[in-house]
Every structure is written in structure tokens, then in C-alpha cells.
Symmetry: C2
DNA sequence: CACTGTCCATACGATCCTGTATATCTGCTC
DNA sequence: GAGCAGATATACAGGATCGTATGGACAGTG
């Protein structure tokens, strides 16, 4: 009836998987290399499933067994981090840590003013922003809240729809001044278009929206870089209308022909509903994103 | 850059939440009461969010803060348990632990022969059966595999549909011999019907399938008990056709009028796909449940 | 009211764990 | 090839952690 190895051992196991070496893991955890080594040795002995790593002078290489454990160790680490966040303040206080998972574009272009207002009202609130396009797992509590562009369908989540973001092609005035005029979709072929490089999912969804798009001249998977390229007058690219309209120098290209919509949801784990600061940030995100989405649709008229 | 309290502290925290006392937690974890007390004290000091428990001579009562942490501590414990299971054998060996979450009825009436065959072929396999009607969380890894009656819609899950289970009313021959005859649905009102007691969800789904069902005379939320009551000749109740047909003494009641179907899925976390024993048990469950579902539909013709 | 069982808090000695220091190996650079 | 940087493994002393033992508080029971 042994309930497994000490949880501390799993912590160093996860650190070793991430760092790739005992020394690196020890640095990350504030331990020393001999201690990390002892932990791994103890874990291997306790599991009895053979070695977890093959030692070398260049670090530790995980075995098959260790690789199979990696994702679960990450889940355990995520749970531990979530515990620390939730415990960072009494449940009814408006202070402590809240971790938000958003796409890079929303995080860099849209959220800052919303969060600034929130922090002015509640200086005790500490925000962790997880900027990733791969939707991280709310159930695994990689984050407390998330802004999603695909509908979350998990029943343990509290989800609220806030509308749709308008997407369109834009280019800087200066680029258009020195480039050929654009009267129809066919003209795009003579222009410098900005788009994705290897991100197959994004490329497919673009092709679905605009079937006969010419090949991109400037390619990057980083959408912030795409926006920066558009602003710098490098060519024509896709961006959110509400962001583009802030800058009068950004001109919509064939808005009647090229437009699409991204639905937006705010999501939170149900268990956090009763934690006041989580609920507050959730509501603030709903309000802020609703307002943001609305500016986009107003300007397009 | 402190990464939170020691994970061992979270382990005893969870144990204290479950046990309701330091002593109980210590017993569960193989520690002593002073150690458990020290852990909680250390945790409270590290979090700085006030007390987690109010001490009393009758045990520890969790505060609001502790209650907010309970579900996340459970998630962490589930992750730790999953790690132990996955590590219970090298990934490519057909031995080690597999944890299956199923409903009580399936677990008690349907799975045993399937699992017996599996264990005969692979004696090294160790099976943990989690018999619960509340669908436990596969993403949180409360279990490795699950047999579900509602479609799992989470993208991280590997799901396979195996057909539908036929449900119907049944009664024992001896009960029918001494009771009034049944020629139409209205006759049921004069009979001893067996059904749910307080399980609102099940009652609603029964009412949805058969709107004008008379009030149950014998009530229990335990479906195994319902089946036992039917077999003992206590009255008429709902059960899976494939189970009823094993016993020639169980007679279908108005099969044309009363019948419904429960869809069945086998589900597994995607990450486990590459673990051979998990995949093996998954396939065995798919095969076994497909065969089971088929016997039910063959006998009804 | 005493008795009993269960609980938490505290003191103290033994043990386990950790960190420091050192040896050794490997790959890279000059 | 020497020197360096970074890795793991081992030896040993100090300190943190644990378990044992004990005291006190509370609820239930005869």
C-alpha cells in the first residue's frame, strides 16, 4: 500500500526533463547537482522500471520510460503552479496572481490597456500573461483564464462568447503610394503579400477563407512580425481590423472581397468561479474584449 | 524566483483535506501526526495567505482558502498517481497498472469476463477498476481509460464509438406469475416498478424516454441494486437487454413500447497511445464492448 | 462524574537529507 | 596537446526533518 515515490522527486524529475541535465535542473530548482542526482537515482530505484536516463558527460538523455512520463510530470507541475496562484491571496481579496493565456496578437496589441485599467483599480492584482497561439490547457490549469478563438467545448469550463473579430487585408499608405494600384483580387499577384511560413493550420484556414490567394512574398509564422511588416510598409497582409484602424496610415485592401471573422470566447475553469479576483478579471476581460470587438465592427461601416 | 512550497507539503495538504484531521492524514500517508502538523504549519507560513485550517480538538476544519485549493490539490494527486501508473512498467512491456473508469453496471456485469480473458493472455497486467457513475476526468488522469455513455468531446482524447446498448423493462418470471397481466403501458400503474430514488439526472433521462411512467414503488440510486431487485422478483425495472437476456427467467416487458439506447464510447488520453499496454487494453475494451453490444441487438430480433 | 477514545501541541534525540569539496570524464578552442 | 567549460559521481560534515514520548483538550458513554 505504498503510495509511490515522494512528490519532491517528481518535481526534480520534471526539472531534469526540461533542463536536460542534473546541473541545469539543480540550478532551476535552487538545489545542488548531487541532490538532483540522488533524487533521480532514488526515483529510478522506487519505480523499478529500469533507468529513466542514460548518463553521459554531456547531460542526461531520457529513456523511453522517461519520455512517457514527461507530459504527466508537466501536468503535475501545472497543478502545483495553479495551487500557488490560487493560494497567493485569500479567496475573497482582490489581490494575488491571475494567469491568462492569450494569442500573441491579442496579448501584445489588445490586452495591455484592459489590464492597465484593471491594475489601476486593483493594484494588488498580479497578472501573468502566457502568450501562445497553441491553446494551452485550462483543465490542466496551465492558465486560469483564456481568450480563445475556437469554442471551448469542455463542460468543466465557464465560457462566454464576446462576438467576432473582423479580419482583413491592410497595407501602409507609403507602400501603396509606390506600388501598383489594386482594383481586383487578381491584382494582388503583382504585390508583396505577407503571410504564414510553415504554420499549416493557419495557412489552411486562410486558404479556406480566400481560395485564390497568391503565394506569400514575405513569410513568418509570428503574427506580431506580420503586423510589424505591414506597419513598416513592406506589403499587404492580414490583420485584425480593430488594430489596423488605430493607425490612419493603414489602408484596407479590397474590404468587400477579403474579409473574415474570428469568433472570440473568454473561458475559465468552473472551480475558480467562487474566487473573487478570478471572477473579476473574467468579467473585465469579457467587458474589454466586447468593447474591442465592437470598435472593430463600428469602424468598418 | 521562488517556485512555491515543497510539493511534499501539498501532498499532506491534500491528505488532510481528505481525512479531516492531521492524525488521519498521517495514517494515510505513513507519517506521524507531528510531521503532518509541521507540514501544514510550514505551508501556511509559505503561502502567507492566512490560516488554511482552524484547529480544534476534533480535527482540522478547512478555511475558505483551503476549500478553494481542494480541487487543485486533488488534480495534483491525480497527476502523481498517473505518474506512478505509467511508470509501473517500461512503456513497451505488456505489464504494469491500467486504471479504467466505468459505470457500476458495466464494471460489475460486463467487464469481468473481458478483463479475465485479458489477464489470462497477459498475466503481468494489473487492472484498477474505478466504479463510478460520475464520469471521472480523463484529462486530469483520474483514470487511464474510460467507458462512457456520453460522447467525450475533448480534443486531447482518443475516442472510439462501439455502438449502442439497448435498454428495456424486465421482470422475473416468478414475479409475473403472481402479478396482474400487462398488455399496455397503463397496466404498469398496478405493478411494483423499480427505479431511481434521488438521482435527478437519471430520473429526468428516464422521463424523457418514457413520459408517462408511474411513480416508482422501489427506489434506489444504485443500479446494481435495481438489477438485483429485478432478479429477485421484486418487480419491473429498467436494465440493459444484453444483461437480462443471459437469464432466461427475465422476461422483457412491452419491448415494443419501452425501449431506449445508450451510446457507448471508449476513451483514452492521447498521450497514452504510444504506451503499449494502454493501447492493448483500449483495443480489448473496444472489441469486448463491441461484442457485448452486438449480443444485445442480436437477441432482441 | 470518571473513563475512554480521538484529537492537537510541544520537547528531544536519532536519522535522513542536503550542501561543500573533490575527482573524473567529455567536447571544444587555441 | 594543453586549457577550459560543463557534465556526473563520490566522500563527508552539518543541519534540517522526522519519529517517539508526553501533556492537554474535547466529545461520547456508562
Amino acid at each position: 500500500m505504498d503510495s509511490g515515490p515522494g512528490w519532491e522527486l517528481w518535481r526534480t524529475f520534471g526539472a531534469v526533463m526540461r533542463a536536460g541535465s542534473l546541473s541545469g535542473a539543480a540550478r532551476a530548482l535552487g538545489l545542488t547537482q548531487p541532490t538532483a542526482g540522488r533524487h533521480i537515482a532514488e526515483l529510478e530505484a522506487a519505480l523499478g522500471a529500469g533507468a529513466l536516463f542514460t548518463r553521459s558527460a554531456r547531460g542526461l538523455q531520457p529513456t523511453e520510460t522517461a519520455l512517457a512520463l514527461a507530459s504527466e510530470a508537466e501536468a503535475m507541475a501545472a497543478a502545483a503552479a495553479a495551487l500557488v496562484r490560487t493560494a497567493s491571496a485569500p479567496g475573497d481579496a482582490i489581490c494575488g496572481i491571475v494567469r491568462i493565456s492569450v494569442s500573441e496578437v491579442i496579448g501584445a496589441e489588445v490586452l495591455p490597456p484592459i489590464l492597465a485599467a484593471l491594475r489601476t483599480q486593483h493594484p494588488g492584482l498580479m497578472i501573468e500573461l502566457l502568450l501562445t497561439n497553441a491553446s494551452s490547457d485550462l483543465l490542466r490549469r496551465d492558465a486560469d483564464l483564456a481568450i480563445r478563438m475556437t469554442e471551448p467545448r469542455q463542460q468543466a469550463l465557464l465560457v462566454k462568447s464576446v462576438g467576432r473579430i473582423r479580419l482583413g487585408f491592410y497595407a501602409h499608405r507609403e507602400y501603396l503610394a509606390r506600388a501598383a494600384s489594386i482594383d481586383s483580387a487578381a491584382d494582388l499577384a503583382r504585390h508583396a503579400t505577407i503571410g504564414f511560413d510553415r504554420d499549416a493550420a493557419s495557412i489552411r484556414s486562410l486558404e479556406a477563407a480566400w481560395p485564390d490567394l497568391p503565394a506569400f512574398a514575405l513569410r513568418t509564422d509570428n503574427q506580431l512580425a506580420q503586423i510589424a511588416l505591414i506597419r513598416a510598409g513592406c506589403g499587404i497582409g492580414v490583420m485584425q481590423g480593430a488594430i489596423a484602424h488605430r493607425d490612419p496610415a493603414l489602408i484596407p485592401i479590397l474590404p468587400e472581397t477579403f474579409h473574415a471573422h474570428l469568433p472570440v470566447w473568454i473561458a475559465m475553469h468552473e472551480d475558480l468561479r467562487s474566487t473573487r479576483r478570478m471572477r473579476l478579471v473574467f468579467d473585465a476581460l469579457v467587458d474589454g474584449m466586447t468593447a474591442y470587438v465592437r470598435t472593430g465592427s463600428e469602424r468598418q461601416r
